[in-house]
Amino acid sequence: MKYVDEFRDGELAKNIASNIVREAEPQNIYRLMEFCGGHTHAISRYGLADLLPANVRMIHGPGCPVCVLPIGRVDQAIRLAREHGVILCTYADTLRVPASDNLSLMRAKANGADVRMIYSTQDALKTARENPDREVVFLAIGFETTTPPTAVAVKQAAAEGIKNFSILCDHVLTPAAMHAILAVEGGVQLDGFVGPAHVSTVIGSKPYEPFADDYGKPVVIAGFEPLDVMQAILMLVRQVNDGRAEVENEFIRAVTREGNLKAQALVAEIFEVRDVFEWRGLGSVPNSALKLRPEYAAFDAELKFKVDYVTVPDNKACECAAILRGQKRPQECKIFGTVCTPENPVGSCMVSSEGACAAHYSYGRFRETA
């Protein structure tokens, strides 16, 4: 397929791989974190680890929207659907995230809650228009990539005077999470980041400059295709070898330094930064998430239905928190692949194909048999 196959070419991948093998200095260990679940998925889906030398290690980051959603946030959505009788719309992966009382949105649906899977915020708006006598709530999750479409929906709802539509806003911010990872006391040792692809098309490459300038960590923004990832790894190896810490952009076909200014302006018009937001794995992180501005409060489901966020601790055996911080690998969790599988996820990292545990289980677990 044009514009896709070019970035999945096996021969080119081999060339890049041989460059990485040649240039990675044997006495060094290169610990590189791919922040995004999209990269985690590409690495696992295409078996890229097989192309890398042993001393170039990929550490999976927290950039998977459903993985970082704490149990309390899913509980909130379930309460809305069950106790307030709303039509709860959300993206597919969110349906399977484990919540309290052995529930998930999917199980709540089976028990009679009106939960609907949608592909776009426009579907949620459409549902609201078609059900004027019902309240429709969109569970809005995701990093900066999914925020602009939510902003569009809220703006449209305001313009059209749609009164039965609101959002449960769990939109989060990438740079804040990267700060949190680097700030963890005794945290993960990192030599560089493969920077986000789609997120960066919106926010640009500029917000990553502090990671290079202040933390001395190289960042290479990369697309989600396998060749993008390989090229970014090579660029990171070169930065480490040269003793450089810069923000480089491999994904120049889509990312500029300034990003999508129109989308940024729209998001700023509708949303403001929350003082603090609890992440799964990273805990409470200041200035790391968004909420609706006061002038759009009518569309804020938390206010409209008075459902407060209540912190719920993770399952004790689940290592999602350490995995999301890059401190543990999925296979180091005691319940990986036994109690916790994609069919019966205990932790959120086993839910989405972008989650580190699900990716390793689905694509890489043959490595555990050797």
Partner: protein, 349 residues
């Protein structure tokens, strides 16, 4: 003389009429629906017996029976509809057991209010598919459920066929060293359904591959190749079907991504929706697992048939106590091709 016509019944309004509860009540309205629509379209000597069941001639070989329910939404899609799908699906289930499909039985669950014109289209499509396949629908049943209790129409078909005594195909017969063949592109049916449901349009429309495979299978069985397993990768797609076989046979598999063909619009739609064509349903494709030495010959036989022009050898069966289906990727890496987790696409067949 009286003008009353004592035996007159106004014919069904197949243009503007709708299914009502009386069509399932066992009374005159039901008899009329059966005679004017089902019997008229499916017309064959066994159905014409008009009894509760069909009495069929005796035949030699081992009897194979398969049943399949069809709840696809939308009922009409590019490349087919629930009618022909319900014929093809069951014929294929009988045929992949190595049997020659001979007869079908069909059960309809109709929802009150369903337009008779749509029912007619569906029944015509079934009749056409059955005639083309040479497999008559010899008995049937109709029930009507109240509005809101069904979704237009559900069709369950049962197929009966006979297999030669010397043909033994089973999911537990894959052996290390065997070759895995696939009859063509994957994902066409599932993406035809989904793209229509989601209103996605592409410059080249995605057309379902729904087809009866018994003709292709007959040529494969006659080729002399030592076939061990035949299966049609429907729900859950190629990946799920191969995992089922690996589990049943207690073996592993190594696939080669570059050998698995995907039509470009299907690939584009999957890319767009974040789906993997390996897990998307097919309704006119088959997987064949055969002895290594027969693979090339079998491949040539398949490619000579119009329904398997793009057949290819996609991998090998290996010894593996874990039963992993693995794949060498286009990039030269290796990965597991796992069972489908959860539900990818509901109601595709």
């Amino acid at each position: 003389m009286s003008k009353v016509k004592p035996n007159y019944a106004r014919s069904l309004d197949l243009k503007n009429g709708r299914v009502d509860m009386s069509h399932g009540s066992g009374g005159r309205a039901m008899a009329q629906l059966i005679s004017e629509l089902f019997a008229a379209e499916f017309d064959n000597e066994y159905l014409a017996q008009g009894n509760d069941g069909a009495v069929l001639p005796s035949a030699n070989g081992r009897l194979v029976v398969a049943i399949d329910s069809h709840v696809v939404s939308p009922l009409f899609f590019a490349g087919g509809d629930i009618g022909c799908l319900s014929v093809h699906g069951t014929i294929n289930d009988v045929a992949v057991m190595g049997a020659k499909p001979l007869y079908l039985a069909a059960s309809f669950i109709l929802e009150e209010g369903f337009p008779l014109a749509d029912l007619k289209r569906i029944v015509e499509s079934m009749a056409k598919a059955s005639r083309e396949a040479g497999v008559p629908i010899v008995t049937g049943d109709t029930k009507v459920v109240e509005r809101g209790k069904g979704d237009g129409v559900f069709i369950t078909t049962t197929g009966v066929g006979f297999a030669r005594e010397d043909i033994i195909l089973s999911g537990d017969l894959a052996q290390p060293g065997d070759k895995i063949l696939l009859s063509g592109t994957i994902g066409d049916h599932g993406m035809a359904i989904l793209s229509q449901r989601e209103g996605l349009t592409f410059s080249a429309p995605i057309v379902s591959d729904t087809a009866a495979l018994h003709g292709l299978i007959a040529t494969m069985l006659n080729s002399g190749a030592k076939l061990h397993v035949l299966r049609d990768p429907t729900r859950g797609g190629l990946a799920t079907t191969l995992n089922e076989i690996a589990k049943q046979s207690g073996v592993g598999m190594m696939l080669h991504e570059s050998a698995i063909a995907v039509n470009q619009p299907v690939e584009a739609a999957c890319e767009f929706l974040g789906l993997d064509p390996l897990y998307v349903a097919n309704e006119g494709k088959l997987i064949a697992i055969c002895a290594q030495e027969d693979a090339e010959n079998l491949l040539a036989v398949m490619r000579a048939h119009p329904l398997a022009r793009e057949a290819s050898i996609i991998g090998e069966v290996m010894e593996d106590t874990h039963g992993f289906v693995q794949m060498t990727t286009r990039l030269g890496g290796r990965r597991v091709v796992d069972w489908l987790a959860g539900e990818q696409l509901p109601r595709i067949c």
